[in-house]
């Protein structure tokens, strides 16, 4: 009974919904990045690395210029730069996309770790360098309950949802989107119609750099205002899972990210509930909830998620 009461209290607490949103935001961005890349046919396991680079660069430039938005911009640029390496290796040189992705994660981890000392004069983590402030929307923050959820929240959360809408529009409503979907599914067919397969794939991968870079920027200057080595904590892989769970669709990826955000917010609140009496060392086990829930959802409700047919296969003309 106590447990039910605890759960009930969690669900009626507006902060649960706010933490859900902020926990989901980096996943939404990163899984969108995955969607862009994979619907054009390039597997992108490097999201974790791109996020890390984005988190790092945004802190560096925020620190150098004092302007967080320059930090955000540079996160996007650096994300695109790393994504470009992925595109170059996997599109131009037809390399194995999974291996290239893991290589880029290593490179991102190495480069960010390595540059700490020369740039900040100390390794490991930086001091607080500044943060994108939460925005307060006057009307909204007065609404009961809702105001507590989104009345004062990071602009990145809004950006994430805007990005989903934008992406849905781009992918399903524009000529570019049509071409993206076609080169991921049947690049030969697209090629015979004069669609520039390589160009579109580059676009998809570079866009994944934009989104994953933003995901990284959110984690550092969007949330905590500093950089710590490996601070992405595996979210790139979770985003990958969210993308598959969301069936390679921006809206689906968003829903999967929200599911994940909600269950980790739930796990956090369960740990922090004064109604649940377990020994302190058992508490870390609550963190398993999101992962178990995801398995149940993917096995029980989602079933087959079919990747684009040409996903992961380098396109070579005339083969």
């Amino acid at each position: 009974m106590r447990v039910l009461e605890a759960i009930f209290l969690i669900f009626i607490n507006p902060l649960f919904y706010k933490i859900t949103l902020t926990a989901a935001t980096p996943l939404i961005f990163a899984s969108l990045g995955g969607v862009y890349s994979e619907i054009t046919g390039v597997v992108n396991i490097a999201l974790e690395g791109i996020m890390l680079i984005g988190a790092f660069t945004s802190v560096v430039f925020t620190w150098l210029t004092g302007n967080v938005w320059i930090g955000v911009l540079m996160a996007i640029i650096s994300g695109v730069a790393l994504a470009w390496l992925h595109a170059w290796g996997s599109i131009k040189w037809a390399g194995d996309q999974v291996v290239l992705g893991t290589a880029l994660i290593l490179i991102a981890q190495g480069v960010t770790g390595f540059l700490m000392e020369p740039i900040f004069g100390k390794p490991g983590q930086t001091d607080f360098v500044g943060k994108v402030e939460e925005i307060k929307i006057p009307g909204v923050s007065e609404i009961p309950f809702v105001g507590k959820v989104i009345g004062e929240i990071s602009p990145f959360v809004y950006m994430a949802f805007a990005a989903v809408i934008f992406s849905w529009w781009l992918i399903y409503k524009t000529k570019l989107g049509l071409r993206m979907r076609s080169v991921g599914e049947n690049p030969e067919a697209a090629d015979t119609l004069g669609v520039n397969v390589y160009g579109i794939r580059y676009f998809g991968v570079l866009m994944s750099g934009v989104w994953a870079g933003l995901a990284g920027a959110y984690l550092s200057i969007g949330e905590v205002g500093h950089f710590r080595e490996l601070m992405t904590g595996g979210r790139g892989f979770i985003a990958l899972a969210a993308m598959i769970l969301g069936k390679y669709n921006p809206v689906g990826a968003m829903l999967a990210s929200l599911l994940f955000g909600a269950s980790s917010a739930f796990a956090n609140q369960m740990q922090s509930s004064s109604l649940i009496h377990v020994s302190a060392t058992v508490k870390p086990l609550f963190d398993m909830i999101p992962f178990i829930l995801t398995i149940i959802v993917v096995a029980g409700f989602v079933g087959k998620s079919r990747p684009p047919k040409a996903d992961g296969i380098p396109y070579e003309k005339g083969a």
Partner: protein
């Protein structure tokens, strides 16, 4: 002197950084070389310590090898046996057996003592009767911080007839600040107003969460405005760990439970070179200046003078040994607040 880090590496703002600071200070004073090797994975410990010991053997004046972090316990003792002519020191390392070889010293800290003090402050300062604790992974030093914190709250309750309760949580990580922030926000949502963290970089997120909540309440990041508000109405606070983290969010970090790792490592190097080597385990607490609490540069005004005076008194009791803070789960369970009569 050569220091081998655990896989956390330099930049943890905790034992690796602290040890390195102390070694460098000693090396500068002595005019010797100091080096650091960072371990990539657990399997590196033995080979890195062995290599470091070989390096030291080449030095005409000898030297000392530092193993930093409880993860290196087994490796340190295995390697030290192989190099009896090289001095070894371990930070945060408890010997697996009672017999410590003559070439080894290890330092342990009574984290519980400094955590006791911040727990006491938290209990005295909370306006809602609820405080929080966030740990990284429940490893022994983290747990000792928790035991101390819980004891501090309990003693305050017992002495003042209050009923301050504690929410506890762990991040399962030492390096994910976002997780720390989410967990802290969850605890704030659960009704606490002060959170003590012992969670490495995760704590940066905890501090950020408190700051965000506080700034939102006050409507300004200005220190004097924050303090003014806090003095009148309370607010949201974090408490730091390992080093003085008060500066990370002035006015919001109420106090930090510090651990003098640098003092220990400085001492070790000095002993090795000055021939004052005292092998064995050195447990450093308040009495030995191994742990302490931050001077509360910004926030002293938020804690009542009476509380500060009580703290002074409790510190002397601990130093004298008349108040023993539990360092195990069992000791915590059976801890009963002794009779304490403040002389004022």
């Amino acid at each position: 002197a050569i220091m081998v880090t655990d896989t956390g590496g330099l930049g943890d703002k905790s034992f690796n950084d602290g040890t390195w600071a102390g070694i460098k200070r000693a090396a500068d004073e002595l005019g010797i070389k100091a080096k650091v090797i960072q371990s990539y994975e657990q399997a590196d410990y033995i080979s890195n310590l062995s290599k470091a010991a070989e390096e030291i053997q080449k030095e005409p004046d000898g030297g000392i090898v530092y193993a930093v972090g409880f993860m290196m316990t087994d490796a340190l003792f295995q390697v030290a046996q192989q190099f009896p002519d090289v001095y070894f020191a371990g930070i945060d390392i408890a010997p697996p057996t009672d017999a410590v070889p003559p070439n080894v010293i290890t330092f342990l800290f009574k984290e519980q003592e400094s955590a006791f003090l911040v727990g006491y402050i938290a209990a005295a300062t909370t306006r809602v009767g609820k405080v929080g604790f966030i740990g990284g992974i429940p490893i022994p030093p983290v747990e000792r911080f928790r035991y101390g914190f819980e004891t501090g709250v309990k003693v305050y309750n017992d002495l003042h007839g209050t009923n301050v309760t504690i929410l506890k949580g762990y991040a399962n990580s030492f390096s994910d600040p976002k997780k720390g922030k989410d967990l802290a926000l969850a605890q704030f949502a659960g009704g606490v107003d002060i959170i003590f963290h012992a969670s490495g970089a995760v704590g940066n997120g905890v501090i950020e969460a408190a700051k965000e909540k506080m700034v939102s309440l006050v409507g300004s990041e200005d220190l004097s405005k924050i303090l003014e508000y806090a003095f009148d109405k309370g607010g949201f606070f974090a408490m730091g760990v390992d080093v003085d983290q008060d500066y990370m969010a002035p006015g919001v970090v109420l106090a930090s439970a510090m651990k003098g790792v640098d003092t220990a490592s400085y001492m070790g190097v000095m002993w090795a070179y000055n021939g004052e080597w005292v092998p064995g385990v050195h447990v450093l607490g308040l009495a030995e200046n191994g742990v302490r609490i931050s001077p509360m540069k910004y926030t002293k005004g938020l804690v009542s003078n009476r509380t500060l005076a009580e703290l002074e008194y409790l510190v002397t009791m601990i130093k004298k040994g008349t108040l023993v803070i539990p360092d195990t789960e069992e000791a915590l369970k059976s801890f009963r607040t002794p009779k304490i009569e403040f002389p004022f």
